[in-house]
Amino acid sequence: MYSQNKTISRISSEHSLANMIALVVRKAFGLTVSSKLSLSSGAPRVYFSNHTSHIDFLLVWSALPKETRESTVAAAAADYWCKNKVRHWVASRIFDSVFIERTNIGRCNNPVAAIINELDSGRSVIIFPEGGRTEGPDVAELKSGLYHIARKRPEYELVPVYVHNANRVLPKGVSLPLPVMCSVTFGEPIHLLEDEDKRQFGRRARVEIEKCRVA
């Protein structure tokens, strides 16, 4: 219900602002995109990426072609992005985020349910399953959210993504971005295997992100 209201209330100037931001990001960071799959597919997907910087989402999102970008939302941590009005406005109006809880998760604010809701209404979601920003370029252990999405909705493609250099653009705790060239690599989609448990799947998904790093 929440997500539908949000889409309707988004006006066209916010759309063009979003496109302009994507263009600026691509130019400012000389963004190169490499992908093993077609990014213009309309089917809802989960893009799961490493997370070193606030700019990660911007880079992944800007790397997508325009049509795909318009139907792609971010999973934003509610405890950070709803903290003040500016953050909330940026996250909800410009980037069309779905807010997820990292703390105090109960029955009615389940992050997996919120993401599945977006997917079911035809939108792709960018998530950072490490559960927070890491300090360096290495991929940390993944949280279980991705596994639960894969189990509950096996039909959606889960696409591993590695963002290069974002930790140098805007490391944790720094407020001005440094113009360093970045690239985003999309890997081959994965699905949950039949006999795979939570830990095995998490490990495999992490390896898939790492594969994009060296590719």
Binding site: N167, L178, P179, V180
Partner: protein
């Protein structure tokens, strides 16, 4: 705008460039068209890509020269910025260096080009070697991270020296007063830019044609001794032909062009060594066919400062 077209030497230079580029593009397209029936040829595709990029580069350069001095300064500031971005990308730094690096991009670079634009020679010459070199390591130290400290500050300082200080000496030629002749410095900048690029192209062509002995196998395997010698002679010859753009007599122009060409090759070799060290082939893919900005302006980086000071010492009043 009118002053450039009114000058017969400059008009001649751009005319010749236009003809050469058009002919090469025509030949390139014909070859590509003929080869199409026999499948793809990577060399030819690369050649055509390179030529397309040359159109863009020469177009931008001549446009900036025509519009005026400040536009040329702005063009080189943009080149500096792109070069800096490429260099920072491959240059390992740590989080504690963030402030120092931002200062380089947001303050040092604009200030240096502001000094060029206003012709404040005294500060232009020492701004980075003195002031930035004092402040930058200090900022890294204040960052509080001691790991690899010496190599980090050395890398950062050299990066600023190369991408900002050295590159800024090319537009700095515009601040030279060559006997009070109107527009003389613009022509000198064109002389430098054209000689450096001719030297690069000639080395490549001569090297491909008769090159055998590698110049430095480990650093730049494509460079040959024959290409180097041929290239600098061609560059010297073209320099002598273009002496009308300079305050030099033909023999002087030949020698200066020879020197520019040798220094340019030096810059090329040094930046190739940096690339090998970082395990990359090109600095980026921003210029199709050529690679990155640094792959294109590596020669200018080394030739411009020496050329600037030499000319200033010998000829400027």
């Amino acid at each position: 705008m009118s002053s450039v077209f009114a000058d017969p030497d400059l008009a001649g230079l751009f005319g010749v460039l236009l003809v050469v580029l058009s002919l090469s593009t025509l030949v390139g397209r014909i070859l590509l068209y003929k080869k199409k029936s026999q499948g793809r040829s990577e060399v030819l595709e690369n050649l055509n890509q390179r030529l397309n990029t040359w159109w863009l580069l020469i177009g931008l350069f001549s446009l900036s020269v025509m519009i005026g001095k400040h536009c040329s300064v702005l063009l080189f500031a943009a080149i500096s910025f792109l070069a800096l971005r490429e260099f920072l990308t491959i240059c390992p730094t740590r989080k504690a260096d963030h402030l120092a690096l931002l200062t380089g991009v947001l303050i040092v670079l604009p200030c240096q080009y502001y000094l060029v634009a206003t012709g404040w020679y005294g500060l232009f010459a020492i701004f980075i070697p003195v002031y930035a070199s004092v402040v930058i390591p200090l900022m890294c130290a204040v960052g509080g991270d001691n790991r690899d400290f010496l190599s980090r500050i050395a890398r950062i300082q050299w990066c600023f020296l190369l991408c900002i200080y050295f590159v800024s000496h090319a537009p700095a030629i515009l601040m030279l007063d060559l006997g009070g002749v109107q527009g003389a410095s613009v022509k000198l900048l064109c002389f430098l830019a054209v000689v450096v690029q001719i030297s690069d192209v000639a080395q490549y062509v001569v090297g491909k044609a008769i090159g055998r002995t590698p110049l430095s196998k480990s650093v730049s395997p494509n460079k040959t001794l024959e290409g180097f010698v041929g290239g600098i002679i061609v560059a010297g010859g073209c320099g002598a032909l273009m002496h009308g753009l300079t305050p030099f007599v033909p023999v002087e122009a030949f020698c200066v062009a020879l020197l520019i060409s040798v220094l340019g090759t030096g810059g090329d070799l040094v930046l190739s060594a940096v690339k090998r060290d970082s395990g990359i082939k090109d600095y980026s893919r921003i210029l199709p066919g050529h690679g990155g900005i640094l792959d294109r302006v590596d020669s200018i980086c080394f030739a411009a400062p020496v050329f600037f000071h030499l000319t200033r010492y010998l000829f400027a009043s």
